[in-house]
């Protein structure tokens, strides 16, 4: 094939390539990249829908404001509390389930299906159903259950209106809904561990616990890192449960960054302030993602 022909072929592929990738790239530009850049820009302005003030560049004023706003700081600390509690608990539960399902027992598929079922439930439906579960008074299901397991020592509580219990209540239903998703990912990771590694470890006289520590955990590391990252990001996206069950209350005990941002833009038309909040949210997600990539890479270098 002569050179001009080769070049024409290359050009042809450029046209086809752009044509095939075009629709998706156009969508990503218009609906993801452009809005993101706009959010970055808006965070440095005073934009408010329907405000008579002219649009102005105000520097980092919105950030100064949100970082001195007790509600936003409360939201940020709530997200951190949610992440630092839910991530370890949910991951441990999912790992436990995956290990139980990976023992080659009969009926594994049935159990796997049951544990995964809540994942196909929309979070808003889960939230509404759990409002009933958390109903105050002895007739509430959670109160009844706790009364049963404490043999009658439990005093009925109004979970969603109790500043100490509202957040743990949201955490519990989030774990219930999400554990199945993680379990499936960890189970897939477990199934990829070569059986020979366990046989070799057993020959070396390693017991169950030692096999788990020296074979299972290191082999599962990338899956665990991924699961922890996804759950942490979900913890910072927390919104549906809060909006439906507590509206951020009582007394800000369950407010979150995204809930505050939605309040700002939706009920107070503060577009710039809400943008600043979502920029902070994005930086948190970025930091988490960076951390995950680093941890995963480390493993590749060692392994």
């Amino acid at each position: 094939m002569s050179a001009p022909n080769a070049r024409r072929r290359l050009n042809d592929q450029t046209a086809v390539g752009l044509l095939l990738a075009g629709p998706a790239m156009l969508g990503l530009f218009l609906f993801i990249l452009a809005p993101f850049l706009v959010a970055l820009a808006l965070a440095f302005t005073n934009l408010r829908l329907g405000s008579p003030l002219p649009l102005e560049f105000v520097g980092v004023k919105q950030f100064e404001r949100i970082f001195t706003d007790p509600d936003f700081l409360r939201a940020l600390s709530n997200n951190l509390l949610f992440a630092s509690t839910v991530v370890p608990l949910q991951t441990a539960l999912a790992l436990g389930l995956a290990l139980l399902l990976n023992r080659g027992l009969r009926g594994t598929v049935v159990f796997r299906t049951l544990f995964f079922m809540p994942v196909v439930f929309p979070m808003s439906l889960v939230a509404v159903v759990w409002v009933l579960i958390y109903a105050p008074g002895p007739e509430g299901m959670m109160n009844g259950f706790l009364d049963l397991v404490t043999l009658g020592a439990w005093e009925p509580r109004d979970f969603l209106r109790d500043p100490m219990l509202a957040m743990p209540a949201l955490m519990l239903l989030s774990i219930w809904q999400g554990a199945g998703f993680q379990m499936v990912i960890l189970l897939a990771g477990l199934q990829q561990i070569p059986e020979e590694l366990y046989e070799a470890a057993a020959l070396d006289g390693a017991g169950r616990w030692s096999q788990f520590r020296h074979v299972t955990l290191p082999q599962l590391r990338n899956s665990l890192v991924f699961v922890v990252l996804v759950t942490s990001i979900l913890a910072f996206r927390l919104f549906d449960q809060v909006q439906i069950m507590t509206r951020g209350g009582p007394d800000g005990a369950t407010t979150t960054v995204i809930y505050e941002a939605v309040q700002a833009v939706f009920t107070r038309q503060q577009v710039a302030r809400a943008s600043a909040m979502t920029v902070v949210f994005f930086l948190l997600v970025l930091a988490l993602t960076w951390l995950q990539r680093r941890l995963a890479r480390q493993e590749r270098e060692i392994g």
Binding site: A21, A39, G180, Y198, N222, F239
Partner: protein, 277 residues
């Protein structure tokens, strides 16, 4: 791993106990949806919560009387269905161009796709909402569909799959003089069913339960999807728990049926979301 008899028994006990805890909210929802409204809350704290004593379909009838349930169902199916179907085509075509064709700007654009993968929807919700408001697009289907068709993560999943396909498949067709588009539909698509299934299931799970965006951009029930509809039905007086649970059961039944039929595919799809980082 082989487990001892005692170990097996312990595993079954643990699995059964956990399964009961996982199932309790669902069993309560189903039983409560069949019970007279006033009994649902009263019995929620006892074992009677799981027994549909005095079962009837009255609550289900009430759902259809008090709400436009079928409209919400249609909205959800239409919105999610369009996002998933259009997304499969658009994102798979893009992934194919990235995985197999040589073209100028390819690497730059692909790196952009990888970078956009980490942008969660919430980070762009404010300007999107602002844009939808000034364009007068609130309370439409288009604003609930169009922004979500192109998806960086879907492109990445397709890309990872296409990269692993043997090139011989396409080369034979290419010698026959088939066009790129023809090769894609006649050779690539039939050989990539697992990838299409995974992407379809993952994007379905994402958008079917979507709440924040439709809550922001819709007010009229005519275009509202189920997740927003159940939340607003719950705040609609009088508070009738039986009706709410019937709404919830109706809303989750079709998806649950599809899930139970194709649960292997669901599991595989979710597991595939974890490929590398």
């Amino acid at each position: 791993m082989k487990a001892s008899r005692l170990g097996r028994l312990g595993s079954y006990l643990a699995l059964t106990g956990l399964a009961l805890l996982f199932l309790a909210p669902l069993a309560m929802m189903l039983a409560g949806s069949l019970k007279p409204n006033e009994r649902v809350l009263v019995e929620a704290g006892t074992l009677a919560a799981f027994l549909p004593v005095g079962a009837s379909l009255d609550n289900y009838a009430a759902v259809f009387e008090r709400t436009d349930f079928l409209r919400f169902l249609f909205n959800s199916v239409f919105i999610t269905g369009t996002i998933v179907a259009a997304g499969l085509i658009v994102n798979a075509l893009a992934a194919y161009a990235f995985a197999r064709l040589q073209w100028r700007g390819r690497d730059l654009l692909f790196n952009l796709v990888l970078a956009l993968m980490i942008l969660p929807f919430e980070a762009i919700a404010v300007p999107l909402f602002y844009g939808a408001s000034i364009l007068g697009l609130r309370d439409t289907y288009i604003v609930q569909i169009l922004p979500f068709i192109a998806n960086a993560f879907s492109i990445y999943l397709f890309y990872s799959f296409f990269i692993g396909l043997p090139r011989e498949l396409e080369e034979a067709a290419s010698l026959d003089g088939a066009s790129t588009l023809r090769i894609f539909f006649a050779v690539i698509v039939p050989n990539s069913k697992p990838a299409f299934a995974s992407v379809a299931i993952l994007s379905f799970l994402t958008w079917w339960g979507s709440y924040l965006w439709p809550l922001l951009v819709t007010i009229v029930p005519e275009v509202r999807p189920l997740p927003v509809a159940i939340a607003s039905f719950y705040t609609l007086p009088p508070l009738q728990w039986g009706d709410i649970l019937a709404f919830g059961t109706l809303m989750v039944m079709p998806v649950l049926a599809v899930f139970l039929m194709f649960q292997r595919w669901f599991v595989r799809g979710v597991a595939s979301s974890a490929i590398k980082g």
